[in-house]
Symmetry: C2
Subunit: 527 residues, 2 copies
Amino acid sequence: MAEWKNLDTLDTYKKLAASDHRVDLKEVLAGEAGADRVKQYSVPMAGGLSYNYAAKQVDDEVLGALCDLAKESDLPGKFEELYNGAMINTGEKRLVLHHLTRGQLGENVVADGVDKREFYTNEQKKIAAFAAKVHSGEVANADGEKFTTVVQIGIGGSDLGPRAMYIALENWARANGSMLMDAKFISNVDPDDAVSVLKSIDVAHSLFILVSKSGTTLETLTNEAFVKDALVNAGLDPSKHMIAVTSETSPLAKSSDYLAAFFMDDYIGGRYSSTSAVGGAVLSLAFGPEVFDRFLCGAAEADKLAAQPDPMSNAAMLDALIGVYERNILGYETTAVLPYSQALARFPAHLQQADMESNGKSVNRFGEPVNYKTGPVLFGEPGTNGQHSFYQLLHQGKDIVPLQFIGFRENQSGTDVDIQGSTSQQKLGANVAAQIVAFACGKDDDDLNKHFDGGRPSSIITGDQLTPESLGALLAHFENKIMFQGFLWNLNSFDQEGVQLGKVLAKRVLAHETDGALAQYAALLGI
Amino acid sequence: MAEWKNLDTLDTYKKLAASDHRVDLKEVLAGEAGADRVKQYSVPMAGGLSYNYAAKQVDDEVLGALCDLAKESDLPGKFEELYNGAMINTGEKRLVLHHLTRGQLGENVVADGVDKREFYTNEQKKIAAFAAKVHSGEVANADGEKFTTVVQIGIGGSDLGPRAMYIALENWARANGSMLMDAKFISNVDPDDAVSVLKSIDVAHSLFILVSKSGTTLETLTNEAFVKDALVNAGLDPSKHMIAVTSETSPLAKSSDYLAAFFMDDYIGGRYSSTSAVGGAVLSLAFGPEVFDRFLCGAAEADKLAAQPDPMSNAAMLDALIGVYERNILGYETTAVLPYSQALARFPAHLQQADMESNGKSVNRFGEPVNYKTGPVLFGEPGTNGQHSFYQLLHQGKDIVPLQFIGFRENQSGTDVDIQGSTSQQKLGANVAAQIVAFACGKDDDDLNKHFDGGRPSSIITGDQLTPESLGALLAHFENKIMFQGFLWNLNSFDQEGVQLGKVLAKRVLAHETDGALAQYAALLGI
């Protein structure tokens, strides 16, 4: 059994914190030694990706200390316990099994009398069979016509991850003959969200997926009502246009309101559910079950690498360690994720949930306050767009923001244009390479307004192309990184008690059971 | 003439920094006094909006000190100099005239021999006349058919602001018969961005707007080539499908490649250009010139209020002062913008540029380093979506993140659904009211995992509905807030030297004039 201890009680951490050894990026990246460093400071990832940390403020001394920290914290042992079915989610007293949705890393995990790997695989098979029927027209609308559009109704983890994954593969699917249905997403309780999506589709040819683990999510049930109204107004039978993704114990599970129901369970957190039925249904319908399967394979391969005990060959663990070093030793407050790929436009929004909801906490897994910083604020937009937006602050602002770049050697659509001797894809790649060096090395100028300090750290994940496999690998990399950071900070990364209070107070407002400031704020909003 | 001095040299700032007086939000928002505070701590804004700061950590003492600071810093005087045409952009030696694109606050400003208000108004009139011809079919495609879609090609300020404004008014326009053309946007040099937009439209009925002040923006010219290829491949004449928005001195200005050209100038920064021809062309084509005019009126009204010398009746100035108090006295590092309106989905992305590119700087307007924090990292997503994502960290994370909520009493589409006794719009409003109180007041719980410290500050901007007027007011509010913060920090908020180094290095990569680390990074990206 792994020992769960606060970060600041570990000897290896205390040693790291006591050291004033610091790495000067300008120095280590200079000249031929700098070129060698870029070649060497690289770890292979799954899906043909690699993680390059040459522009991070680490060297052999710091890396050695981080490896010692990984060992003392027993990161490999904790991950092993997790995937073998220990109750890692101490707050809600639940297992944490999202890895099982895409592979079997350790022992068979039996919970509630069921082999869970079998359960998740079986749901996948059910989804694949249903998707095949939709694609073939065996499941069709009242006029016997094929469904052409799939609309996911869900919020949080039932929206951000699946939506980001769908956008990430849209261009790839178009170029590879895998674009079987368009997908849309309704999430916000703001009625204009549902109205706007419903206006953009042909409801008679649309299949809706209602996604709620509990079957009680306010936003999702409200939006379901919106959709049902639209179907009824179009003279259609809602129960012939809707499927549900939920838990077996939810009120939706056996309802006749749905054509079919597919299941996840309490061991899959919303923000880790893209590889479960939550992502599976919409992605299998949009791109076909084979594409979803390839996506799962990429994630499973990443999980296997994450189980390697040596951080120097485990990109997720190394990434986690460097992140903790930056947060707790170097004192950086925020972090930016900057994919140089328009397809990853919503990937930072997904990571915002995955990271900030998992590790944005102030008590450890035993409910005791911790005296060190935990998860940082995370934000990001695709490059090169961000370069023309907030990069000014990243280059010359008062705070140092560690950066996570992502870049590919080929685009997805296979279409490109050559202008002034280079393609758009080459311009994109040239920009990300340039940014890394600009941030790290800076540039001296007597006009201080044009001076760049440098010393701004970044890492980059690169690959040939964003495909189902590399996307799965990318997703699992960050999930595992977040998990390792939670282990280091001694947090329960799998509950989210911080979202409860707002829900309780909102219900009180709607029931008009308020007074004082809350009543006044409600009045301000016209309630 | 206003005196430009560093924040930390001002007596009123020193006094504020020396004080250990702090406001306890739980205390001040408790009971009937708390309800009164919510009623009183409110400033009317333009467009029927109001700014409520009852959940900010201020009281009469702090507010008094902030008013003194505004006076010593001469914020009203500096704004007056700006709108009367002083050379406020010291780095690039330029006037700062975006306010003139929507109204005349002070003296006539003559630059380059031209009355600038007249110049901007004239461009607006030209755009309105052109849009009318497109809408009537007088300007049509080769087959004499009306254009149905307008596509803006631009990046940074030529993309983020206009795109955010378009999305903000889409549902409103649909409900009010003002949806004249669909608009799309191509920005990223990633070829998949242009490919994806081009696949989603009918090029034969599309009008493209090329937006680049200099006429030399790499991304924009590359994407223009993409679009021209697509038009030629469809057997169409690109010059009959394109207009330009640029400066009069740019190579695009008099080119026969465009049906028409509309102008802005060097006195309009990209991130402040939504009210110039940059936003004017696309918004007038999409929604009609009258709607764009209403949007300008809202902004102009906000500018007038921003010229009020008393911060207590000047929401932009008060917001700026409270932000500086939070950044420099209370030490908060980031700030979140959380609109409870799906229509404002991309408003935070626009503000990221407006704010972080303006004030993410470490030297003052004279090029001297400053010893205090300047612009914070800004991020945000619409509520209630964010509640199911990163709010966990905002509620229970180790860092306090000041929050800017935005909420409306009515939705835009006029369609809603009643579930369990409340509409979706009411649920939306109830949630934002609940969040403000949850963040400020917290909740004690013996289980520390379920305990909320509270003390997390927010303000809220509320209004009846997001309309062209209130959107204009909202935009100008933040522009003016950022301007006042730049004055307080003694920055030049109107240049962006921090984006230059990356451009230079990217060119070097594309010319294969690299060695060392940069060459290795380029190789990683396949260049």
